[in-house]
Symmetry: C2
Subunit: 307 residues, 2 copies
């Protein structure tokens, strides 16, 4: 079970969608934990907080449901209708082989975090996230740019208080962004900066990548903002395809699985383009999902042997 | 935690309402498990079963929620809107000191039954239940008598297959009805026939009542339909008030509690009248709720003593 946290318009849906498409919805269940909103849009108008605030969400029920999904049980998930701003009839969700829970606060509480085998925090530069949010909310959700900018301001204190602290709890922190030093903009293919925390076992990429040999993609031992040691994987969008393939194969090889390396990763929303850095991030997450399955399900090859 | 099962219009709401009013909604939480309907009224039109069928209900989710309530955790309960026939936004339900779950199928599965400290099946004579259902559904729910009668016919096979079998799992089976041998009708105060199964420990009424000494109210060892031994408590509506009071006090005495005997029991819906047999049934159920609380909560007087 994978948890993906991040602020509004941080790219959670794009990342999740690619994983669901790679495995197929018969193998993976994805839920959005923003459905656990306690109030509809009308009720929220009179309240002193935004949907980012834990008090605006049924956090305890979200925790219950994550636990139930982790145990393989179905849940009756509430539904927040983003178009209408209403709370609609709940839907039955049955966990498949793999489960993703993405949203604003999936890593907010210890009980929720304990349900996941791997956790991710999406951490785009704030200026880029603003652009993404304005583009999405003026498009799909019918707001004016001024309304979105005002809402971003209103949400900022709660982003700082409740959303961004989740970064510290994630096993993997992902930042997609243009490389400023190269003068890139959002119109250029995005690179990925991926922090791999030693809270879980990551695939060994040191044999394929090192900071000495590879400039377009490298793995570097460094200290995070808080001083803790972390491996930083930099995937520059301009890296040659052959290197990307080599890294993908190295990741998958470590699984020692008969499952083939999933195809079709790295698809960007709508425009049919592929992002190599996105594909590598998705493959890393699939690595962890498959590895967790291997730990919980008995290996059929040895299940019949005496212990 | 108390489970009350019974067919449509068997009297579940009247019984439950009295218990909630006796203890106050700050001490007792009552939910109706018919809210776990899987389909709304429109969707059901095309389906080969009625709301009585387990497949028409989220039984697994009901089981989960009963377990969570039994553990003292809140649930996000689905809501079936009886007026509109729609599935509406769910509501948060937080368990108080006592919990009642009443409805069509609370005792359907072993997992659900395991959540209750005491279970009741309401078993009115079928002719009386029909009259009650016609009166209610033509009044509150806007149907014609013909529609209600047709629906009763449509539901009969599923009543027989899924509702009535729950009678065998209940600790207490209650039948409110007029005494035919006395020529009574539904217009007369109803008597109660209460089967007390040895599946749980009932208060000792033998010291107050026996089949020899009391004709208006008596306790009788007998065999149930299935041949199993059972105590049958007959509370005739014409029993004198003093005897009723004596029985109520005997029930409450056995709890050895400082809580006073709850007042206001036996209220009938709307008309302001009191039913002594209903009051005794409600008190029996309160006895079991308080006794279960005594088993799970440490006695403050002995909690500090060494074991």
């Amino acid at each position: 079970m994978l948890g993906i946290a991040g602020d509004s318009a941080a790219g959670k849906t794009t990342l999740t969608k690619g994983l669901v498409e790679a495995l197929g919805s018969d193998r993976i269940t994805a839920i959005c934990v923003d459905d656990y909103h306690r109030y509809d849009r009308v009720e929220r108008k009179g309240l002193p907080f935004t949907p980012l605030h834990p008090s605006c969400n049924y956090i305890e029920v979200m925790e219950q449901h994550l636990q139930l999904l982790a145990l393989g049980q179905p849940i009756l998930k509430p539904v927040y209708n983003h178009q209408q701003g209403t709370l609609d009839r709940p839907v039955l969700v049955e966990p498949r082989e793999f489960v993703i829970a993405e949203g604003l606060l999936p890593l907010h509480s210890r009980l929720a975090r304990a349900c996941f085998d791997v956790t991710v925090y999406l951490d785009p530069p704030e200026a880029i996230r603003r652009d993404w949010k304005i583009a999405r909310d003026t498009g799909k959700r019918g707001y004016t740019p001024e309304q979105v900018i005002e809402e971003l301001g209103r949400r900022e204190p709660e982003s700082a208080a409740y959303i961004r602290p989740q970064r510290a709890s994630a096993d993997i922190v992902v930042r997609f962004s243009p490389i400023e030093e190269r003068g890139e903009t959002l119109a250029d293919p995005l690179s990925a900066y991926v922090l791999l925390r030693p809270t879980i076992g990551h695939p060994d990429l040191a044999s394929v990548l090192s900071d000495d040999t590879r400039r377009a993609m490298h793995l570097k031992l460094m200290r995070d903002e808080d001083g803790k040691p972390v491996d930083a994987l930099h995937c520059h969008a301009y890296a040659e395809r052959a290197l990307t393939t080599q890294v993908e194969e190295a990741i998958w090889r470590e699984l020692r699985t008969d499952d083939p390396l999933p195809g079709g990763l790295g698809q960007l929303n709508g425009n049919g383009q592929r992002s190599d850095p996105l594909a590598i991030v998705q493959l890393l997450l699939l690595f962890h999902l498959f590895a967790a399955r291997g730990r919980t399900a008995p290996d059929p090859a040895v299940a019949g042997l005496p212990g």
